[in-house]
């Protein structure tokens, strides 16, 4: 039995189609992250699952029951909002218990449930406070508590961490992961932050222009991106995308004289394709001595930046840019020609016209 099933969900506003046929099925206990840049339709999709917006076409099924046209309160879902959406006039305890109160759960039972939830989230000492007396992180916990206390089939998170500062965001990320492992709940989580997606998800749906570009595990998304878009969206610094022309197994980087022979398996995948985009993750590059015979590429180093754990080296190959993440003590100087060795197993090749992986 799938916990959530979306069947050909479409959403149109006038002539603009913001969701163009979304299909996916979620098993119980999965943590699905909808990842995409703003305007890709991920929040709209979440609202459609919640029942706060209606799909123009398609069906939402929760626990094998069609909920199209069903009111949010009857969908057995709970939602955590980006703005937390706590009721400012109510105490933390009442905020958490409001959903139960509205469902006519007896007061004693309610108090019990609220205490238990507060304990899980370590906010027992805040129960009597008003939201205005809480810090951002505490508010976030209350918002999660409000969802948790109802024990719904599916939890929906709409960019819940984006209002927190960087340090707190990391803490809450770990906290969410801990909660998911502990409670085994089914979660749909919307974010534009690829780190959140990579760390939290059991599966990621990368969305673009109202469609799912790729739906896969974080490992798959990172190591076998289905399209050029997915490849460049996930990873920091982003994957290098070198436009190249392939002739007789040799990739000639556009706008430069350099090129390299493609490894056998890639050459096979490339087949007859001529115009391709070669994707190389910055961390798959390493320094190589000039004239080294192994798979590599020559570039002109422009900028060297030390971030702490790594040295980010930006170079140019003709008119194209190449970024490498190197160990911090690497001997590399701006303004010099430098040869980079490429990890042959980490080479990606995409069709230039369609952007799809070859």
């Amino acid at each position: 039995m799938s916990a959530l099933e979306l069947i050909d969900i479409r959403k149109r506003y006038g002539v603009i189609e913001t969701l163009r046929g979304i299909d996916l099925s979620l098993a119980s206990g999965e943590f699905l992250v909808l990842l995409g840049s703003s305007g890709c339709g991920k929040s709209t999709l979440l609202n459609i699952i919640a029942g706060l917006a209606e799909a123009t076409e398609g069906d939402v099924r929760i626990g094998d029951r069609s909920v199209t046209g069903v009111h949010p309160k009857d969908r057995d879902i709970a939602m955590v909002f980006q703005s937390y959406a706590l009721y400012p006039n109510m105490s933390v305890a009442r905020n958490i218990g409001f959903g139960l109160e509205m469902r006519k759960v007896p007061a004693a039972e309610r108090t019990d449930a609220v205490r238990k939830t507060a304990k899980i989230l370590q906010i027992e000492n805040l129960l009597e406070r008003k939201p205005s007396e809480l810090s951002g992180g505490q508010r976030q916990r209350v918002a999660i508590g409000r969802a948790l206390v109802r024990d719904p089939q599916i939890f929906l998170f709409d960019e819940p961490l984006s209002n927190l500062d960087a340090k707190l965001r990391m803490e809450m990320r770990t906290e969410l992961k801990r909660l998911h492992l502990m409670l085994g709940t089914t979660i749909v989580y919307v974010t534009h932050d690829q780190i959140e997606a990579m760390t939290l998800a059991t599966r990621i749906a990368v969305m673009r222009d109202g469609q799912i570009e790729q739906l896969a595990t974080p490992d798959e998304i990172y190591n076998h991106p289905a399209t050029r878009y997915v490849a460049s969206f996930v990873g920091s610094p982003p994957m290098n995308m070198l436009e190249a022309t392939v002739a007789e197994g040799i990739a000639h980087i556009d706008g430069s004289l350099s090129g390299f022979a493609l490894p056998a398996d890639i050459r096979e995948k490339a087949g007859q394709a001529r115009d391709v985009v070669i994707g190389i993750r910055p961390e798959s590059l390493s320094l190589a001595p000039a004239g080294d015979a192994a798979l590599g590429i020559d570039a002109m180093v422009e900028v060297v930046e030390l971030t702490g754990p790594e040295l980010v080296v930006t170079s140019t190959i003709g008119s194209q840019r190449l970024t490498a993440s190197l160990p911090p003590k690497s001997a590399v100087t701006a303004g010099m020609a430098q040869r980079f060795a490429i990890d042959a197993g980490a080479l990606h090749i995409f069709d230039k016209a369609t952007g799809r992986r070859l």
């Binding site: 609202n47 949010p72 309160k73 709970a78 939602m79 959406a85 009721y87 509205m102």
Partner: protein, 293 residues
């Protein structure tokens, strides 16, 4: 530049306004207080000092007490109705529907009209011979014969309250609508997911956002309703049989119709005092509710 000069310059800059204020507010106020202790007539005698006689006479008179009841009735009923209708109208105009912006603009119209125009309009509606209300009620069979709504003591005050409501509910609606639009979308969405019914959502989630602004509307409207003059003066002049005589009308009659400037002034000061008490009480309420939220 010394701070002394800055202070002097500030006073110099304020001086023209201060002179005007003293001339049109300060002096008349002081003179009214002086008058209230005399038996001066509007024309002729300057009047002699009579101490608190005017106040005692006014406060103990049956006229004053009956008028106070009428005024309170008018203020409480019209403001209560305006608040309810105003909030309902705001809730309606906050929904998505075709023609909403036109309706929002139209709603302001009664409030934007001068009171005299509004009063004249309602006098026509209530007209005992050719009024629209009589015609409508007779035609749908609720009424056998035409009635003089403003001419019967039993209906005149109600008729005035209806007219006042029509004119002033838009102000409440406008304030409530602004407050409604300040309710974050996420909060409404959260309450829907939490399973709140429409009523529970209004009561527990929306109302806290409305309370503060509505309190301001309540204060403004109550004070205005307590001082009401023009609407009633144009429609009934306090009649029939003084059934619609409010405090402001009584002040006018005392001072100008009966030309008793002394007792008129004392009455005016009593009304001012009552309104001040209201204003101070409400200000305290507002501060309390602001502190609570």
């Amino acid at each position: 530049m010394t701070s002394n000069w800055i202070t002097t310059r500030a006073w110099l800059l304020m001086l023209p306004l201060l002179i005007v204020m003293i001339a049109i507010i300060g002096w008349p106020l002081v003179d009214t207080v002086r008058l209230s202790f005399t038996d001066a007539k509007l024309v002729g005698t300057a009047g002699g000092f009579v101490g608190l006689d005017n106040y005692v006479k006014m406060l103990s008179g049956a006229n004053f007490q009956r008028t106070l009841v009428t005024t309170t009735l008018f203020a409480v009923l019209s403001v209560a109705a305006e608040m309810v209708i105003g909030v309902l109208a705001a809730l309606l105009l906050n929904q998505q529907f075709y023609g909403r912006s036109v309706l929002r603009a139209l709603m302001i119209l009664p409030w934007a009209l001068p009171t005299v125009v509004n009063a004249t309009l309602w006098r026509l509606i209530y007209n005992p011979e050719y009024g629209a209300l009589n015609a409508a009620l007779t035609q749908i069979g609720l009424l056998d014969t035409y009635r003089s709504w403003l001419g019967e003591p039993g209906t005149a005050l109600t008729a005035l309250i209806v007219a006042d409501c029509w004119k002033n509910f838009p102000l409440v609606a406008l304030i409530a609508l602004a407050a409604l639009q300040a309710v974050p979308r996420d909060i409404t969405a959260a309450s829907m997911v939490d399973g709140a019914s429409a009523w529970a959502r209004f009561r527990f989630v929306i109302m806290p956002y409305l309370a503060g602004p509505l309190m301001v509307a309540l204060v403004l409207r109550t004070i205005e309703a307590f001082k009401v003059f023009d609407l009633i003066w144009v429609m009934t002049r306090g009649g029939p049989a003084n059934s619609t005589r409010t405090l402001s009308i009584l002040v006018y009659q005392e001072a100008f119709s009966f030309q008793r400037a002394g007792s008129g002034a004392s009455l005016a000061l009593i009304v001012t005092l009552l309104v001040t008490v209201l204003a101070v009480a409400y200000a305290a309420l507002i501060r309390k509710s602001a502190g609570a939220s």
